[in-house]
Symmetry: C2
Subunit: 432 residues, 2 copies
Amino acid sequence: MAFPKSWLPIPPKSPFSIANIPFGIISTAANKTPHPAVAIGDNVLDLRIFAENKGFSASTVIEKEKDVFSKLTLNAFAALGRPFHREVRKYLQEVFTENSPYASLLEKNESLRQQALIQLKDADTHLPLEIGDYTDFFAGRNHAFNVGTLFRGPENALQPNYEHIPVAYHGRASSVVVSGTALKRPWGQILPDPKAEPKVPIFAPCRRLDIELELGMFVSRGNELGDSIDVNKAHEHIFGYVLMNDWSARDIQTWEYVPLGPFNAKNFGTTISPWVVLADALEPFSSTGLQNTTQLQSYLQENKKNNVIDIDLEVDLKTASGISTTIIRTNARKLLWSWPQMLAHHSVSGCPLRTGDLFGSGTISGEESGTQGSLLEQIQGGKVTLKLNGGEERKFLEDGDTITIRGWSGEEGALVGFGEAVGTILPAVSRK
Amino acid sequence: MAFPKSWLPIPPKSPFSIANIPFGIISTAANKTPHPAVAIGDNVLDLRIFAENKGFSASTVIEKEKDVFSKLTLNAFAALGRPFHREVRKYLQEVFTENSPYASLLEKNESLRQQALIQLKDADTHLPLEIGDYTDFFAGRNHAFNVGTLFRGPENALQPNYEHIPVAYHGRASSVVVSGTALKRPWGQILPDPKAEPKVPIFAPCRRLDIELELGMFVSRGNELGDSIDVNKAHEHIFGYVLMNDWSARDIQTWEYVPLGPFNAKNFGTTISPWVVLADALEPFSSTGLQNTTQLQSYLQENKKNNVIDIDLEVDLKTASGISTTIIRTNARKLLWSWPQMLAHHSVSGCPLRTGDLFGSGTISGEESGTQGSLLEQIQGGKVTLKLNGGEERKFLEDGDTITIRGWSGEEGALVGFGEAVGTILPAVSRK
């Protein structure tokens, strides 16, 4: 898709091209109260300042809702629904376009430009939405197969329900953190030898600390208790997407997860990228996911099959030495279940979804070596070692390791990217 | 414990004696915006009106925080911490005491009495707190054993981790509803014959709809990300308790729960009683739980062992015919893990707890027939039938059935009770 040129210099490799316009929550030295902004090139447009200074005055539709740009989170904006988000994105694209009829609003308004256009590096980012509930799906079929193979062999790798149900569990909303938040290595109960009998745990810091590469999705509008979301109308309930690292303490998980699922193995932290890329911005990159040959129940049958998104994903591991290695390259298409199917399944019981609910896709893995979204898969459960640049090796994460996820769709000059989801592992604190 | 007599007539069987003073959120015909109140006898004291009319003027400590009594939820009040809750409860007990020095505040202030003292039946109750995250534990050892026996036999009934870990899963906060909210029978994927191969589900309304009798606990103050709560200081993090019915779709659960735990089987609704009984009000009824002979990890070792609560619990099932039967009588002591142990375990990974987080105890079952907290246990997995008054029988719930949970501690005249947690099952709506 051809996008107009901007009067604002935007580096061609910027994830925040004029084709994107992602929304986030920032604070600055001058404005310490968190408030909405969009990222564009190496800048952010402070939407609170822009809205307060008649930036949206050329649209009566937007102008009358401009208070949503003064809130602490994007929830009020998200709740206005996808047609409104579409309108605001188009409007802001116009504002940044060269020779636009909107030039007087920002381009030719030097005073407002100086106030509202801030360098990206000078803006602190915060959690973009207040998360009501966080649900983590398990839609990465390759990951489910790889991990199932490690535990039960390839014949029984996938549970019998896997291709019938978009399997999910409720995650912990309070520990979802924005990119840049360091996490302390978690303590927990661990079996020193999972095969020894009787099973007697020790209490220790996690020794098998892993990552899970996921895509996150925020709900714009939900459903009432007892109602459900039609799979073929579900796309209207999507606000946008973020990158996600679902940090996982494998040793804690092994001991705790039967019969009620993962708990402390996951709830010490989940990192998301700060900029929510709108569903509309990613619409041109709709794609088909992994094939499911199982006959699906009616509520999961989609008229359109292209409801996952073609997003290139990369993960870097930087050790305390400062040397970085790209350890994963994969794509967000590698899902068995689409986002509308996840929405339909989650609500089919009558469970109410709300603005600001966060869904994780589950770990995204490709088929080839180096495309798997977790260390557990990459090291084949411990059989092999990951070789890093500079000569270091890893099985699981060590203290001081920094994980950076990047993701983008499209071509240079018109990238629709997420920026980064970054997290560093700090040493465990004393707990005894 | 002897409590003073009130100038307000309080029926001796009222759960809301002067020894109690539970907090909730009400609205009335005159004041439709939800706001805080306490229940006392057949009345509620509207705390917004009371606070706005100098009701708390005899305490500078309370007076300066009186804005918390004008909020939509109890979160701001809960966040002030247990010493503050203690102060307010004592103050209100004094206000209701005969011949109290506080008589001028309400007893002798007819105008305020007429505004602020409202009949309980004229107050609509709402969710008392905005729930950040809801976590459901599995601390009812008898329930875990009974259900484990049904699935795996008595030898393997309890998982190897059960007596080491206060096992829990993250529940769904958005579907926690206040007493009186009717729930539609949920739809979901069900195996018509769980033993048949291959396993092919159908899509249908739940056929094995069950209840789970639990106690709920609200967190007053939490902990920061990366920190943890000391088991021996954890009682200071408790705001109070409610009754809980963790409705469960057993057939949906059977098919969906491996490997990530229950999801749609639970997230269609969880009913809680409207009045939060403060931790302090229940302190005199502290008790020891079920014995755990396993050597516990240091972070779970309590100096005081009496950290569960002696609360008599009853469950009535009323059919559409209007005839009611008490189907369960048990006690909230029947837990293997205490509330401080649950708080310590949940946070030991560094997971942040927040004001308004809700914990469920897990299903509470005694040892004898009729004391088990779910239908699944009472009907021994389906082998027997529950006989109801009026000649009806039940295995699982039918449309039009109403479940009422009651709970109380103490003696007539000084009851510390919860009132009721009530829910009616409505027929499934069309989903095809």
